[in-house]
């Protein structure tokens, strides 16, 4: 009883919710990237590699810039460089697939290997082969958005401040991105073209939409979003780059759009769910004091959740298809078949 209370109060505590938003950020951003490439019909398997490239570039360029300019400006320099690199890597994949006709999935896998290896290799050269990958320079951070006025709200003020009051700007950007992507997909002409290309490329081409160009754009945007996720990892969530720091988030992100029904807000809910599980991972031991939890159990949660989610989603989709077929059959039974009525002469 007390254990359960512990867990529940822990999960619904302001501190947990705040942490959940923090850990959701680097899942949500690539999830949106997966969403937009998915909607254009060019699934981006390379999110992981793009995230790593951006995480590394942001932290490294930022750190070097900090030696010349104010750290708060340097962070933004790193930010800009990271976005540029992320887009370039995404365009590499786009070129390979759209121009050279390469396999999109193998291309994505190659991008992931490239992102992982190149960041480590360049880091190694920059640090002169010292271990740990530390540049020996102070890391830079994206700014925290401090909202002290939240505290002034009666009753819930303190809790609200704990949840929202001191989040990294990247967290705000990630949730803002949900709205931006929604606006782009559903309100702007280019978003409509993008969805049309993903759903029925022949129809899109038949009204003169350049399918290939739209897909280039979709992959570039997914690159920006994955890049933002990478920036959060190395310049928000942590202070600096470590090898393979994405830890599979780029892959988890591939599942979120499907779970979220292919919409930005649905994807956000799915990402929050993954975030909650990831948050639980770090807090489970403290929530259950005295219980001997193997350290691996909470770590398994996000991955197991992804698989379970994938299974539920696939199961429902399969059932929806058979249900639809059954519905037609029933409809037919209700209304008797039209008897063939030709003139018989």
């Amino acid at each position: 009883m007390t254990l359960l209370q512990n867990v529940l109060s822990g999960i619904f505590s302001a501190a947990f919710l705040g942490a959940m938003l923090r850990v959701t950020t680097p899942i949500l951003l690539p999830s949106l990237g997966a969403l937009i490439s998915d909607r254009a019909g060019v699934i981006n398997i390379g999110l992981e590699g793009i995230m790593l490239s951006a995480a590394f570039t942001g932290a490294t360029v930022g750190a070097y810039a900090a030696t010349a300019v104010d750290p708060s400006i340097a962070a933004w320099v790193g930010f800009g460089a990271a976005i540029v690199v992320a887009v370039l890597v995404a365009l590499l994949l786009a070129f390979f697939h759209l121009q050279l006709n390469g396999d999109l999935i193998l291309g994505g896998i190659a991008i992931n290997i490239l992102g992982s290896a190149a960041t480590i290799a360049i880091g190694y050269q920059l640090t002169g082969g010292r271990g740990g990958g530390s540049l020996g320079l102070a890391g830079v951070q994206m700014p925290i958005v401090d909202l002290p006025f939240l505290k002034a709200i009666p009753a819930i003020g303190d809790g609200l401040y704990t949840i929202l009051g001191s989040q990294n700007i990247m967290t705000w950007i990630s949730f803002l991105s949900v709205a931006v992507i929604w606006f782009l997909l559903y309100r702007m002409p280019i978003g409509k073209h993008l969805r049309a290309v993903g759903e029925n490329p022949d129809a899109a081409a038949s009204v003169g939409i350049d399918v290939r160009r739209v897909r280039y754009l979709a992959l570039a945007i997914s690159g920006v979003l994955a890049g933002l996720g990478g920036i959060h990892l190395s310049m928000g969530y942590l202070n600096g780059f470590t090898r393979d720091m994405t830890a599979g988030r780029g892959f988890i992100a591939l599942v979120a759009p499907a779970l979220g029904g292919g919409t930005p807000f649905g994807t956000m809910i799915a990402a929050l769910l993954f975030g909650a599980f990831a948050g639980l991972e770090t807090r489970l031991p403290s929530l259950l004091p005295g219980v001997d939890i193997p350290s691996q159990l909470p770590q398994i949660i996000p991955y197991a959740a992804t698989i379970i989610a994938l299974v539920i989603y696939s199961y429902q989709r399969t059932r929806a298809l058979t249900a639809r077929a059954r519905r037609f059959e029933q409809q037919r039974k209700q209304e008797p078949a039209p008897t063939p009525s030709g003139p018989s002469d």
Partner: protein
């Protein structure tokens, strides 16, 4: 309908010939004249060349010779965008719509009215509504396309063309997917378009529709235009004769039929497609030992579904099919094969073969797991090779090596590989769908002779073909399918007037249930 006779020519194809890169002649010196403000029906059998001609007019294909004129000017229609700019719109059989978009969104796609950086949805809806009102094309601009009925989707396609300023509308078999009520609505809409000065080219197989809606009709056959007539000066019999032709049916060297007991008995078989369309509608018939039962009909009238249900590729909604008294397994192709059903599929590249696999691999797909091809858990490759070599010899397949990939063969030889496999499966019933489509004359003759030989040996054969000559030549009895049901049964194909056959195939005639019962 228009009575004004001084219409000027709006679009004209002069001596258009189209030879595809593989040497196939699809249009042979075709002339088509369409005048402003008319409804011009274009009729012809499958493969008569209608689609190719329309693709040329819409810029999807370029003519090899000949010229298209628009309002008297020669034009080069390089792609559909050019066609659209010239005011030519096309409603494809499979709609070019984005399912999750609203009607209005589909209508304005890629030419969206904007306000700032956003799509002006209100304006799009208003424009769609205005256009719909003007032409009497009733649609729900704010409804999502995948939730509206097929008839409305078609109107959306017409609106799309109107929105882009089309004057000439090409409708490719527009009624094929419609219910009778929707067809009536469509015809009303077409008349409305014409009354407002638009021109409509209407492709169809259904003679009744031709007489109902068109002003003039052009009949195509064998890549050529047979003639253009004023509809009110023609009748269904005449059009049917023009379409089907008056070829003397080949005299076949065919021993008289020795009909045995019923092998396949089909009763009230019904299949509902995923789209909800009743593709197969209470079909009943028998196939007997030692006969070829032919199924004639314009393609897409339920033949494909019939074959796929009988071969275990699909499950029927209700009704039964029994082979030698035992039910035909449903949704289990191997079980269907094991009760003795062999199947030459109509789409040989997608279903009948794996073109990257070897000839010998293609020849054992139905038997690889049985002795002698598998023994002690291993494939016996020598057996597969021997099997292949025997078949290559017996069926005269031209290749240097049984291990060559199938794609190294010509179309005719590929089909012989499939025919060889299915013939040697020792079936009780052979279902042959379009067995000679797209193969050369030599292979056709060969396959026909094989079918006749097998039938004479006592095999029950169900032959489905869109090629009239073929079914008439081979069949001992003939069924005609129309719109998912059996329109007619002919106990003696040699005694059929081709004109009559045309009328049944095109839905203008229907035998009564009692007549058919008597003829089973």
């Amino acid at each position: 309908m228009n009575t004004n006779k001084q219409k000027r020519v709006i679009i004209e194809a002069k001596a258009v010939t189209k030879i595809y890169p593989n040497g196939v002649l699809a249009n042979n010196g075709v002339n088509l004249v369409v005048t402003q403000g008319e409804i011009h029906a274009l009729v012809g059998e499958n493969g008569a060349g209608k689609s190719t001609l329309m693709k040329i007019l819409y810029g999807l294909e370029r003519p090899t010779h000949g010229q298209v004129f628009l309002r008297g000017e020669p034009v080069q229609i390089a792609n559909p965008q050019v066609a659209i700019r010239l005011g030519i719109g096309m409603v494809h059989q499979n709609f070019m719509l984005v399912p999750s978009f609203t009607v209005a969104e589909n209508v304005v796609l890629n030419t969206e009215p904007t306000r700032g950086i956003t799509v002006d949805t209100a304006k799009a809806i208003a424009q769609t509504q205005a256009l719909a009102d003007q032409y009497g094309l009733q649609v729900l601009p704010e409804a999502q396309v995948d939730s509206v009925p097929v008839g409305m989707r078609q109107r959306v396609e017409i609106l799309k063309a109107l929105y882009r300023g089309a004057d000439i509308f090409i409708l490719d078999e527009p009624t094929a997917v419609l219910t009778p009520g929707e067809t009536r609505d469509l015809f009303a809409a077409i008349r409305n378009l014409v009354n407002q000065g638009k021109t409509v080219i209407f492709i169809t197989h259904k003679l009744r529709e031709v007489t109902e809606i068109s002003d003039r009709v052009t009949v195509m056959r064998d890549a050529q235009v047979i003639g253009t007539v004023n509809t009110n000066e023609s009748d269904e019999r005449m059009l049917a004769r023009m379409m089907v032709g008056r070829e003397v049916f080949m005299v076949v060297n065919k021993p008289p039929v020795k009909r045995g007991k019923a092998v396949l008995q089909v009763r009230d078989l019904t299949y509902v497609a995923e789209s909800g369309k009743v593709a197969l509608d209470n079909v009943s018939f028998n196939v007997y030992e030692g006969e070829v039962l032919g199924i004639a009909g314009v393609e897409g009238n339920g033949q494909t579904e019939l074959v796929e249900v009988l071969t275990g590729l699909r499950a029927a909604a209700h009704g039964t099919a029994t082979l030698d008294g035992k039910p035909v397994p449903s949704n289990d192709p191997r079980a269907a094969r094991e009760v003795g059903i062999a199947h030459i599929p109509e789409d040989r590249l997608n279903n009948g073969a794996a073109i990257s696999s070897s000839i010998s691999d293609n020849l054992i797909v139905d038997r690889y797991y049985k002795a002698p091809y598998s023994q002690h858990g291993f494939l016996q490759l020598e057996q597969a090779t021997q099997n292949a070599q025997a078949m290559i010899e017996q069926f005269d397949i031209v290749t240097s090596n049984a291990e060559n990939p199938l794609q190294s063969l010509s179309g005719g030889n590929m089909q012989k590989v499939i025919v060889a496999r299915e013939f040697t499966a020792q079936p009780r019933l052979l279902i042959a769908a379009q067995p000679t489509r797209g193969v050369d004359i030599g292979a056709i003759e060969f396959i026909h002779q094989q079918l006749i030989d097998k039938r004479t040996e006592g095999l029950a054969i169900l032959l489905v073909s869109a090629d009239l000559q073929e079914v008439l030549k081979l069949s001992d009895r003939l069924l005609v399918m129309y719109n998912g049901h059996i329109a007619a049964i002919f106990p003696d194909p040699t005694a059929i007037a081709e004109e009559d056959l045309g009328l049944y195939m095109l839905g203008a005639k229907q035998q009564s249930a009692d007549d058919m019962e008597a003829l089973q």
